[in-house]
Symmetry: C2
């Protein structure tokens, strides 16, 4: 590419707002005339404490997080939360899990170590191409919580409603957080790996109803005990400072665009453009069922593995990168997170049209 | 400071090599003409995989890690390892811990959740100002391992010998890794938070004898199971990519200086300069006993809290930052990690001399 404009459709870690990167670059060696990089500062320094507090306040504002909930900046990704959630919340020893994709399935499997897991639904019957309707969800009476993954990155499906199960709601929002407004008050716990819509990999955001903390199993590692983490304001140990700083930069960009409400409009526009073309296409077939389509990850294929490979390779030569689907799902995947400009989607659709023509469709 | 030259004596996160920061800044928006930031790339991309492999190879070379051992790039810091170590290695249910400071004490306390902890020594009798001799260590016969913290950041003490206890050796090297050569083959497990001598906060390096993995307790979270992490080459989930990239940059600098052997000479020179002055000083008193002094964290005080405060404040105005001691220990602490140039130590000693004169000592 040698510095040419590219569009990065990576599923995660993924494209970040250019303004966030430019700010980071400009002040990398000398943060606010301190003579130090933000990377070189104690997490207890006044400089970093301000960064931490501001990132938290900006996220609170962007998602309208109510005062009943606490925002935590942690490490370990979704995989750590898979264990932390049952260890903290499976108080009576049972929970219901909606298995709508790979990550939800892994979460359910990990939870089995710590209690009884009731499978509320399993969409593998149609290759995880859909999200169940409320009527299709079976939630066990004894469940301490109901767990689901809001957006299934690999399959390109997304929940377009918040399930009302009468149980504490626990949600993995790793790949659609900040992509649209969400009523946080409905949730007991939301978590998200930062590496899609928020920051570089290495930060996990947890938003937890404070009343749920304090009931961790005795075997819970201290670093996973939400009560301790709330009390220590995420500083039980050194947090991933750089990622927290970058999150602040990303949130400045979100605000500059007009906030999460405006971001949603832009995301809808991008998704409509791409799905609109897919619905018309004689060559490309979308994977997700229409009502369950993700606004963040658009999965599709030609039906021929060879053609898929050719498409991905040729797109790359034109600066449209990382369109290969996940190895589990195959085909193509265009991840069009917040920071993907509509020009990128237009370029992709234009190229798909051209590809159709050159392949006599 | 407004861009003036400063010396950053922070105990962690702490000063990084300027060349590592400059490289990061130069390629922040466009890594190797990819058109993408390294922060925006999939951890499974060829670009990042090369960064990962190179950082690992450079660390293996710098520390001469034998093939019996595996290097892991993880998250969660020392605090996560406090739990992971007993969960994986306390096979018969007992371990001995040397309590020579705050972090060792926290590690021992966390291990009690998972088995019987035998305290091999406790140096709190003399305010953690010393490291016990081999004869002072009591290791219980049934111990699966012996645990110690090589360098006690808060108190400024450091083990100057590798304990031969006949048990698997587990060591927290967070604050002196890469500061001097180490015979890795003697250790069952070494771990280190990256934020002192390696990279920004958010990365934990584990070096483990592969034969020790595979015996984790059933309650062990998957993200803490060393066997799984070895099998997945640290990519069970998305690793802290930026920190791994920065580690590579730091290791390039280590190599350019002449490797860990040369780094040790420079560190010795810096430490001698500062301790040499402290031994002569009529005002400043070192905290650590002579034989137990840390080459990384030099702790001292005037004996008057007021004078300590005045010294720290005035030093800051002269660009010598973060000299205040940890709140537990009080006094002053100069952390002189690998990336602190000798000029910084000279400037500090000069100022200490001046401070003595102006205070009529």
């Amino acid at each position: 590419m040698s510095g040419e404009k590219v569009y990065n459709f990576s599923a995660g870690p993924s494209v970040l707002p250019e303004s966030a990167l430019l700010k980071a670059q400009a002040e990398l060696l000398d943060y606010k005339s301190s003579g130090m990089s933000i990377m070189e500062m104690s997490h207890r320094s006044l400089y970093f404490k301000a960064v931490f507090d501001e990132s938290k306040a900006k996220l609170k504002a962007a998602l309208k997080v109510p005062d009943t909930h606490e925002i935590l900046f942690l490490q370990g990704g979704a995989t750590l939360q898979f264990a932390a959630i049952p260890m903290n919340l499976m108080v009576s020893g049972e929970a219901s899990y909606a298995v709508t994709g790979n990550f939800a399935s892994l979460a359910a499997k990990e939870a089995e170590k710590y209690g009884k897991v009731h499978i509320a639904c399993d969409t593998s019957d149609r290759n995880h191409s859909y999200i169940p309707s409320p009527e299709e969800l079976s939630v066990s009476e004894g469940s301490d919580y109901f767990y689901y993954c809001a957006n299934n990155t690999i399959y390109g499906t997304e929940w377009h409603y918040v399930p009302e199960t009468g149980k504490t709601l626990v949600c993995d929002m790793s790949s659609d957080i900040l992509s649209k407004p969400v009523d946080v008050s409905k949730f007991g716990l939301i978590y998200a790996g930062a590496q899609k819509n928020m920051a570089p990999a290495g930060l996990t955001v947890v938003i937890i109803d404070k009343s749920l903390a304090g009931k961790a199993m005795p075997i819970t590692p201290k670093v996973m005990d939400y009560k301790v983490l709330i009390e220590k304001d995420s500083m039980l140990n050194t947090p991933p400072c750089w990622c927290i700083y970058m999150l602040g930069n990303t949130l400045d960009w979100v605000e500059s665009v007009g906030g999460v409400e405006e971001i949603e409009k832009l995301n809808l526009e991008k998704a409509k453009l791409l799905y609109g073309f897919l619905d018309e296409s004689k060559l490309f077939v979308p994977h997700a069922e229409t009502a369950s389509r993700s606004m963040m990850n658009v999965t599709f294929r030609t039906g021929s593995q060879e053609l898929d490979g050719e498409f991905v390779k040729a797109a790359e030569q034109r600066g449209m990168l990382n369109l290969k689907g996940h190895r589990i799902a195959g085909g193509m995947r265009a991840s069009i997170y917040n920071a993907m400009p509509i020009e990128g989607v237009k370029a992709l659709v234009d190229y798909m049209k051209e590809f159709e023509v050159t392949h006599n469709v």
